[in-house]
C-alpha cells in the first residue's frame, strides 16, 4: 500500500493544485517586487508589474533569473526578508564559479524538511525505520535536508555525515539502519567497501536508499540496488531553490514528483527562452511560490529535462520530472559534439566495469582530445597483453557508438581512481587552463 506524508497535497486534483499555485504565485510576486530591489529592476526593465500576474497562466511574463544574477547579487541582493527573520544559510559547493548563498526563515526550513519527509515516506520509510544520513553536513544542503526530513517523519536518525566508510558500515550493522541517504557515488563506494569487508547485503538491514545531488544513471541505480540489497530512490534539489526534496521518486521509479505546491516547474528552450509543451526536452526552470527569505522566480537550473503529467501508479498527482539528462555545466563539448559523463557511466556499467572513472579533456594542436581512465575489473584481468588491449578497444568502440566521437580508453588499477564521499569529480578539462 502506497503511503503518503501529505496525501491531501500529493494526491490533490489538478484544479485544487492550480488554485493553490495561483494564490501563492500572485502573493509571491507581490512580496518579491516590494522587498527585493534586484527583482523590481528586472521586472520594471521587462515592463511587468505585480498586477499583471493574476495566475500561473501569466508566469511566462516574468523575467528569468540565472546563476549569473545570483553571483551579481551576492550576498544579500536577493534577500526578501530582514536578516533578523532568517535563521540559516546554506551554500553551493562553488565548483562551477563563485559560491551562491541561500537564506532561510524558519518557515522555509519547515517547508523544505516537509518535502524531504515526503521523499522518505515515498521510499517506504516510517517511524519504525532507522535512517543513516551520510550526505555531508554543513553548508551543503544534502545532510541538513534529509536529516531534518527524517526527524520530521519520525525516523530514528543517524546524522553520520560522509566519510569514514568502515565506521559508517559498523554503525549500519550495529544500529540496524534501514534507510541510507547519500550521494549515489558514495552509495556505490559503501557497497564496494561492504564487499571488501567480506560482508553481503544479508549482513545489513538496509531496505531503501535516497540518493541525489549528482547525476547518476539507471545502470548505476541497478548496480547500487544489487550491492546494497535495497531499492534506490532518486531525489532532486538545488540550494538555490531550497535543497534536496524539490522533487522525489515514488515506488514506480520512473521519474520524480515535483512538490508543486511549493515549486512550479517549466521547461524552456534554452536558446530562445520560449516555454515548451509537456513532453519536450528543454531546460528546467523553477519558481518557488511560498518561500520567504530567498524566493527565486523562474530560476534557470541549466538541467536538461522532460516533464510529464502521465498518471502515476503511486496515486500522486504531482507532476513528474525525468532524471535530468545532465546539467548543462556537466556537458562537455568535444570536437563540437555534446558529451555527458553520464553516457560514459552507462557504457562502463553495461560492460561490467566500475562506475569510478576519470575523463581527461585536453586540446592538442587545436584538436580536442578525450581520454577516459577506467578501472580494471579484477575478474576480467588476463595475463596476456593482447586480451587487455582488446578490452580497451572494445570499450573505446562502445564509447564511440554512444558518444559519436572516438575517445582513448586507458585501463588503470582497481581502486586507483579517488573515491568520492560527496559529489564525485569525473572530469578534468585542461582546455580551460590554456584559455
Amino acid at each position: 500500500m502506497e503511503r503518503y506524508w501529505n496525501q491531501e497535497i500529493e494526491c490533490a486534483s489538478r484544479e485544487d493544485m492550480k488554485k493553490l499555485q495561483d494564490e501563492r504565485l500572485v502573493a509571491q510576486v507581490k512580496h518579491v517586487y516590494e522587498n527585493v530591489k534586484y527583482y523590481r529592476d528586472l521586472m520594471d526593465e521587462k515592463g511587468v508589474k505585480p498586477e499583471d500576474i493574476k495566475s500561473t497562466d501569466d508566469l511566462h511574463k516574468l523575467p528569468f533569473i540565472s546563476k549569473a544574477d545570483l553571483r551579481d547579487a551576492y550576498p544579500y541582493g536577493l534577500l526578501a526578508k530582514p536578516l533578523s527573520e532568517c535563521v540559516r544559510i546554506h551554500s553551493t559547493s562553488g565548483t562551477t564559479g563563485r559560491r551562491v548563498v541561500a537564506f532561510y526563515t524558519q518557515h522555509d526550513i519547515d517547508l523544505w524538511e516537509d518535502c524531504c519527509a515526503r521523499a522518505l515516506t515515498a521510499a517506504g520509510a516510517t517511524n519504525e525505520d532507522v535512517c543513516q544520513v551520510a550526505y555531508g553536513f554543513g553548508l551543503f544542503t544534502g545532510g541538513a535536508g534529509l536529516n531534518g526530513g527524517s526527524h520530521k517523519a519520525g525516523l530514528l536518525t543517524l546524522p553520520m555525515s560522509s566519510g569514514n566508510t568502515e565506521r559508517q558500515i559498523q554503525f549500519m550493522r550495529d544500529l540496524n539502519a534501514t534507510v541510507l541517504c547519500c550521494t549515489p557515488s558514495y552509495a556505490a563506494y559503501i557497497g564496494e567497501t561492504i564487499h571488501e569487508m567480506g560482508l553481503t547485503p544479508d549482513d545489513l538491514k538496509l531496505k531503501a536508499g535516497i540518493f541525489g545531488a549528482e547525476p547518476w544513471t539507471e545502470e548505476m541505480r541497478r548496480s547500487i540496488e544489487k550491492s546494497l540489497g535495497i531499492k534506490a530512490f532518486d531525489i532532486y534539489g538545488l540550494t538555490e531553490i531550497s535543497g534536496p526534496g524539490v522533487a522525489f521518486e515514488c515506488s514506480e521509479q520512473t521519474g520524480m514528483h515535483i512538490n508543486e505546491d511549493h515549486f512550479i516547474a517549466e521547461i524552456i528552450n534554452p536558446d530562445t527562452g520560449e516555454v515548451l509543451p509537456e513532453g519536450e526536452v528543454g531546460e528546467l526552470v523553477f519558481t518557488s511560490i511560498d518561500k520567504e527569505a530567498f524566493p527565486l522566480l523562474r530560476y534557470r537550473t541549466r538541467d536538461l529535462c522532460v516533464l510529464s503529467r502521465k498518471k502515476c501508479s503511486c496515486g500522486r498527482t504531482l507532476i513528474k520530472m525525468a532524471k535530468p539528462m545532465g546539467r548543462s555545466d556537466d556537458m562537455l563539448i568535444i570536437r563540437g559534439v555534446n558529451v555527458f559523463p553520464s553516457q560514459i557511466e552507462t557504457v562502463l556499467i553495461e560492460q561490467g566495469y566500475s562506475p569510478n572513472y576519470l575523463i581527461e579533456v585536453d586540446r592538442v594542436n587545436n584538436t580536442d582530445t578525450i581520454d577516459i581512465n577506467v578501472e580494471m575489473n579484477p575478474d576480467q584481468f588476463s595475463d596476456k597483453i593482447a586480451d587487455l588491449q582488446d578490452k580497451e578497444r572494445k570499450l573505446a568502440g562502445a564509447m564511440k557508438t554512444m558518444l559519436g566521437i572516438n575517445p582513448k580508453v586507458h585501463l588503470v588499477s582497481p581502486k586507483s581512481i579517488t573515491r568520492s564521499e560527496g559529489k564525485a569529480v569525473r572530469v578534468i578539462d585542461r582546455r580551460k587552463l590554456h584559455d
Binding site: M376, N377, P378, F381, S382, D383, K384, I385, L388, Q389, E392, H410, L411, V412, S413, P414, K415, S416
Partner: protein
Amino acid sequence: MSDVRQISVFMDNKPNQLAGVMKILKESGVNIRALSLADTKDFGILRIIVNDTDKAVDSIKAAGYAAAVTPVVTISIPDSPGQLSRVLDILGGEGVNLEYLYAFTGASDKSVSFVIRVDDNEMAAEALTKGGIIQLTENDISEM
C-alpha cells in the same frame, strides 16, 4: 605434466608500482623464482613464479591489485647452444601457438629453465614429453 601456476598482476604505468608488489612479497616472506615484466603505453603486466603461490596471490589480492593465476608449462633444458631452438621446433611441429616465454635460472648451473605460455597446455605438455624435454612441477620449483 607441468602443474606450475604463474601469478600475473596488473600494473599502472607510473612510479612505484613494481616496488609496491615486491614489498607485499617481502612482507609475506615469499621468494620469486622467475619474473617477467611486459609493458604497453598504458599499463604493464608483471608475471611471476614463486615458491608459495597461494600465499602470494592472497596477499597481492588483499592489497587490492588485479591479479590472475594461470597454469603455465615450465621446462628445464641443458645450458648449451641450440636447446631452445629444439624446444620451439617440437612445439611448432605440433602446431602449438606460443603467447610468450621467459627464462629463469635452472636447478643447477648446467641447466636453464623457461616459463612457456601457450594456448593449449595439454597439447604442449604432450609434445614436450614426446620430445624428451624435462618439465618442472610446482614442487620442483618451491624446492629450488
